[in-house]
């Protein structure tokens, strides 16, 4: 696929690869575990090169570079298993579109440098796929919002300094029309963040808000206006989610490992491996389609949903095959194949489930009811 990138893009790809030599095998793409300090250092190192703000407008302190460069960066970072792109990126895109001048001044520099770290506080016990039903309330009195409620499944929340909180400011039942976005410091009194250990050995987090006071200047965008902002920020961000680098690396690892196994010459195994290889190439063109649409300024929502389903299901397929081929070696706790297998189980859930993504494709690409 290298040929699809122009000379400048290829030069950038080489630069990123060279930069990543110091950050190989952090494995934080698969699971953070106790690696957060290294991940945070990586984000600062990426920030120091101006790459966290690569696509921001120059007026906002960015490099004004197109989506392809961002894809190349996060694709290579995924291939290196170094990390997923930070949540601060979605915060920044929202701030750039809807933040006040004072907010730009306060937040964009530390996000650009990688100093400010965020977790996404959207989901709740009763609001998963149906996010618009969320109940966590932010009640305004004077210059303070008081937040009460419960969030769950927040990635990284136990490590970061801030939550990017989606809360209800409108009437109960106002669904998407009554939601607002806030930046909340994780150390704020009344906010309790506890781990929910996950099967691959990492954790998501639960965030309880009990009369948590948030200054009104921490609300980003208009009150009750979050839904549209979230859609816009997401559309600015789609091309860097689920880059093919992760799958390519999975396949390389499985291939290397298979080459050393007695099953390497088994015709059935070889055939299956070829099928997986084709799947990874297919996933790559779907990911690049999203980038292409973004570059053309066209709506990539459906292409991104298609990419998410296809990418994550290939990811599970590779892990499943690897586990089978590994035989009992895969069963040893802490083995590489086992980590891949366990981790792949949640890929089809986090960031929107396969069922919901297929629903989007069916409705919007095929006009099905």
């Amino acid at each position: 696929m290298r040929s699809l990138f122009d000379a400048e893009e290829r030069a950038f790809q080489d630069e990123v690869r060279e930069f990543l030599e110091d950050w190989q095998d952090l494995d934080a793409y698969l699971s953070h575990g106790d690696r957060w300090e290294r991940v945070a250092a990586l984000f600062r190192a990426i920030g120091a090169r101006g790459w966290l703000s690569m696509s921001w407008p120059k007026a906002a302190g960015g490099l004004g570079r197109g989506p392809t460069f961002e894809y190349i960066l996060w694709d290579e970072v995924a291939y290196a298993r170094a990390a997923r792109n930070p949540i601060s990126s979605i915060v920044a895109r929202t701030l750039v579109r809807a933040g006040s001048d004072a907010q730009h001044e306060a937040w964009l520099p530390p996000i650009r440098s990688g100093e400010a770290t965020f977790a996404l506080a959207y989901s709740e016990p009763e609001a998963g796929s149906d996010l618009a039903s969320l109940r966590t309330r932010a009640e305004r009195r004077g210059d303070i919002y008081t937040v009460d409620g419960e969030k769950c499944w927040q990635s990284y929340a136990g490590h970061v300094d801030h939550l990017w909180l989606l809360a209800r400011t409108g009437e109960p039942g106002s669904r998407g029309a009554g939601l607002s976005l806030f930046i909340v410091d994780t150390g704020t009194p009344g906010l309790t963040i506890s781990p929910l250990p996950t099967l691959e050995g990492d954790a998501l987090y639960e965030c309880r808000f009990e009369a948590v006071e948030v200054p009104a200047d921490r609300r980003v965008g208009p009150e009750d206006g979050a839904w549209g902002l979230m859609a816009d920020a997401l559309s600015d961000e789609r091309h860097i989610q689920f880059p093919a680098g992760r799958l390519k690396r999975d396949l390389v690892e499985v291939g290397d490992w298979l080459a050393a196994s007695p099953r390497a010459n088994d015709a059935i195994v070889q055939h299956e491996f070829e099928r997986l290889q084709v799947g990874v190439l297919e996933a790559e063109v779907l990911a690049l389609k999203v980038v292409e649409l973004a570059q053309q300024g066209r709506d990539a929502a459906i292409a991104a949903a298609a990419n998410k389903v296809f990418h994550t299901e290939r990811c599970q397929e590779i892990a499943r095959a690897a586990f089978e081929w590994g035989g009992p070696e895969s069963l040893v706790a802490g083995s590489r194949i086992q980590l891949l297998w366990l981790q792949s189980l949640w890929e089809t859930i986090g960031g929107g489930t396969s069922e919901v993504m297929r629903g989007l494709v069916a409705r919007h690409a095929l006009q099905l009811p």
Partner: protein, 298 residues
């Protein structure tokens, strides 16, 4: 027609006894000797060599053990009991006082607790002696194994039958566990509300669960008829039980995936409703007792 796909009254009673005896134990609980000895007292480890229909007995009991995702070297003990000569050592294993290790190089389940070791190598079972340095490892489902080289003696004459019984036990455990996973997922699909409706109203949720149930029924039927044939002929060329095991592992693994998908984020938690079962399924599905199916006879 012989109604081999259903359990008869005696078989159901046997399964009920096991389920009742283990009812206090959380599903998927880690290995513990007292629970193991409860199974021994109920005669679980002598099933494969007892009565007129040992394989059918194994099916009834192991489906129930599968529903509990019961820990311990269950299938391995069935295999060991079928190859061990009658004597005090076998009797001690039968009583749950000691263990036999049945593995395939280089992994030896529960070997530190075992007095005797057997190695599965293809279609044969050999007495084995671990040699050199043994490294303890823990498995996905939390079992203690040793990684070690081993010297093998000549294969045992009754290895083929022992493996056939082992496959029946493993297939039954997988079918039982797969059923529980799908029951839990179906319960979730009926009760979890999103968008003001149970998630199970979506065919993208309900149909894959239906597919799993269909598959599991096929595996159950194949397993129960394979056990019936094994008992009727009291010898087996391995093909039928090999296919039953292959079917059960595919169905149970599919059930595990679908259950995880149905539960959303809750399903991927360490202490959640699924992982204690799904990791046991993954481990049973990896038992080194499969047949090269392409070579199996029709």
């Amino acid at each position: 027609m012989i109604t081999a796909q259903s359990l008869d009254a005696d078989e159901r009673a046997l399964a009920d006894v096991i389920a009742t005896a283990c009812s206090e134990r959380p599903v998927g609980a880690p290995f513990d000797l007292a629970a193991w000895q409860v199974l021994a007292r109920l005669g679980v480890f002598s099933l494969g060599s007892d009565g007129p229909s040992p394989a059918r007995g194994l099916v009834a009991v192991f489906e129930a053990l599968g529903e509990m995702a019961h820990a311990g070297p269950l299938v391995e003990t069935v295999i060991a009991m079928a190859v061990l000569e009658v004597g005090p050592e076998r009797a001690a294993i039968e009583r749950g006082e000691t263990f036999a290790c049945v593995g395939a190089a280089p992994f030896w389940p529960f070997a530190t607790k075992a007095q005797r070791c057997f190695a599965i190598a293809g279609e044969a079972i050999h007495p084995a002696h671990l040699t050199g340095a043994a490294v303890p490892v823990t498995t996905l489902a939390g079992d203690p194994w040793l990684r070690s080289a081993a010297d093998l003696e000549a294969p045992l004459a009754n290895g083929g039958r022992a493996l056939a019984l082992g496959r029946v036990a493993a297939a039954a455990a997988l079918v039982g566990a797969g059923r529980v996973l799908i029951e839990r997922a179906a319960e979730r699909a009926r009760t979890r509300q999103q968008f003001g409706r149970p998630i199970g109203v979506h065919q993208s949720v309900s149909h894959p669960l239906a597919d799993c149930t269909i598959r599991l029924s096929a595996s159950e039927g194949l397993l129960r008829t394979a056990a019936f044939e094994l008992d009727a002929q009291s010898e087996d060329d391995g093909a039928r039980t090999g296919m039953a095991f292959a079917s059960a592992r595919t169905s149970a693994l599919m059930a595990a995936y679908q259950a995880h998908q149905t539960f959303g984020a809750l399903g991927i938690t360490l202490e959640g409703p699924l992982f204690a079962i799904s990791r046991r399924v993954r481990q049973w599905a990896s038992l080194p007792i499969g047949l090269p199916l392409l070579e199996a006879r029709r």
